[in-house]
Symmetry: C2
Subunit: 288 residues, 2 copies
């Protein structure tokens, strides 16, 4: 048993899957789940994701050897402030937040010197499903988890947190929070914003029913991420707003390139642009 | 045997799947495939998609009872001009083009009074794969095929073309070409343009490898349609350019709504917009 008592704060897709994966790996003896929704916690107990439900993050964290904070990122300041004072000195803390600069800032403010026990992480394993109902022990299997260790972290804390995510089957990478937020803005946050904007635009039209009626597989896959958790994505957009707005600006410029070719009827250049995009994507798919 | 000899001009995903579906339904006795690529025609013969390969569209069409034109739409004027003079008077002609105003215009010009034999169709069954290699007898099963019959069509011609697509397992709808092109611009052409633009923008950056390296399932699905056939999409974009440019303009306005909320930090309104989009998409998924 590599960890004894584990506290999972936010038993949704990420938190619930972390709990299930640790259990499956035999890496945790007792898991306490903390959440805002009685119903979701009840389901987590029923599914055997957690052994105990708790409404108070401080009570759950006080006896834990490992704590995962997996709530939407806007709740981090409050949660970290609650648990900062009660953490056991040998406990380690990690998270599942999709943005890292704001999480690190909140952790430094809330935890003070105990921030040394916090090794931030971002599992690149989202899905458009959310809640304990969607959790699975295999969510992180062979998926990348990015760690953004802090200068304050000791080697032992980083090693313990690595051990936890590795037990979930994840492949680990290390980045700094600034690079993380810039890269994820481009390949994750921007596509989510675009997908939400497209569905928003279709849904508000007078002929929305006719439009959806003729939408097919391409539309379904393109907009899958518009079925993602609205609160989680609200928090990501606000936490990473500067990077995301840089990305939407860049995207507008790329879209202008395509529009200009269409408008001017420049078929050859348009086909070349499309072929280049296809080639780049296909090469990525082959290599991933 | 509902059709005897069938000519399929363009034995790609759509043409090849049409041939396979008709064969599987026992609705064709002999299928001639016409194409520009020897290699693709060879594969179509090898896979039993077609019984005979032919380089000349006119020779293939002259003896056919049913002709499908399934090439990229920019080739229609030339192909229709080749076959217009040789069609048997009782033969019927349909197509698989993704745009309809340009196809109808080309058909009227090329076919003259024989346009009465042409019942335009658009199978809503694309995929990012292309060529005879990707063809399958089940591609149209329970998928929608939109017919845009012409005032010139007799009832018998429309009935024959309906019969052909129904034999492929398709569900048939009827629209006029103008509405078709407007609706498809919104739910198909626009998403393709956005996906191509996004991959174009990522691929041309200095740190493209790092960006692709951290792209995950959301990015994969969002960009799946950027692996579509570049020539086919070039033709669609040029044929339907006015409608597509209207849609990119609308999309920019919707994106501005999201950007403004992010910039102003209006979390509540942002979450409401995301939740509305998710609800609309989920309702569509449940009903489709």
């Amino acid at each position: 048993m590599r960890f004894g008592r584990v506290a999972v704060i936010g038993v949704g897709l990420i938190g619930g899957s972390f709990a299930l994966a640790l259990k499956k790996a035999g890496a945790a003896s007792h898991i306490v789940g903390v959440g805002r929704s009685e119903q979701n916690l009840g389901l987590a107990l029923e599914r055997g994701i957690i052994d105990e439900a708790e409404r108070d993050a401080a009570r759950a964290a006080a006896s834990a050897d490992l704590v995962l904070v997996a709530s939407p990122v806007a709740q981090f300041p409050q949660i970290l402030a609650r648990i900062g004072g009660v953490l056991k000195p040998e406990a380690v803390l990690t998270d599942g937040g999709s943005t890292k600069r704001d999480v690190v800032r909140a952790a430094r403010e809330a935890l003070g010197p105990r921030v040394a026990q916090f090794v931030p992480a971002h599992p690149i394993a989202g899905a458009e499903k959310s809640g304990a109902a969607a959790a699975t022990a295999e969510l992180f299997r062979d998926r990348r988890v990015i760690l953004t260790p802090l200068p304050e972290n000791g080697e032992a804390a980083v090693a313990r947190v690595r051990e936890a995510w590795s037990a979930c089957g994840a492949r680990l990478s290390v980045m700094n929070p600034e690079d993380h937020d810039a890269v994820l803005a481009a390949v994750s946050h921007l596509p989510h914003v675009l997908a939400y904007a497209l569905v928003h635009d279709i849904a508000r039209r007078g002929n929305a029913a006719e439009l959806f009626g003729l939408a097919a597989g391409g539309f379904r896959d393109f907009t899958r991420i518009a079925s993602s958790h609205p609160e989680m994505w609200r928090d990501i957009c606000l936490a990473n707003r500067d990077r995301i707005l840089e990305e939407t600006k860049r995207f507008r410029a790329a879209l202008s390139d395509v529009e200009a070719l269409i408008e001017a009827g420049q078929g050859e250049a348009l086909e070349k642009l499309f072929a280049g995009a296809r080639e780049a994507r296909d090469a990525w798919i082959r290599s991933s």
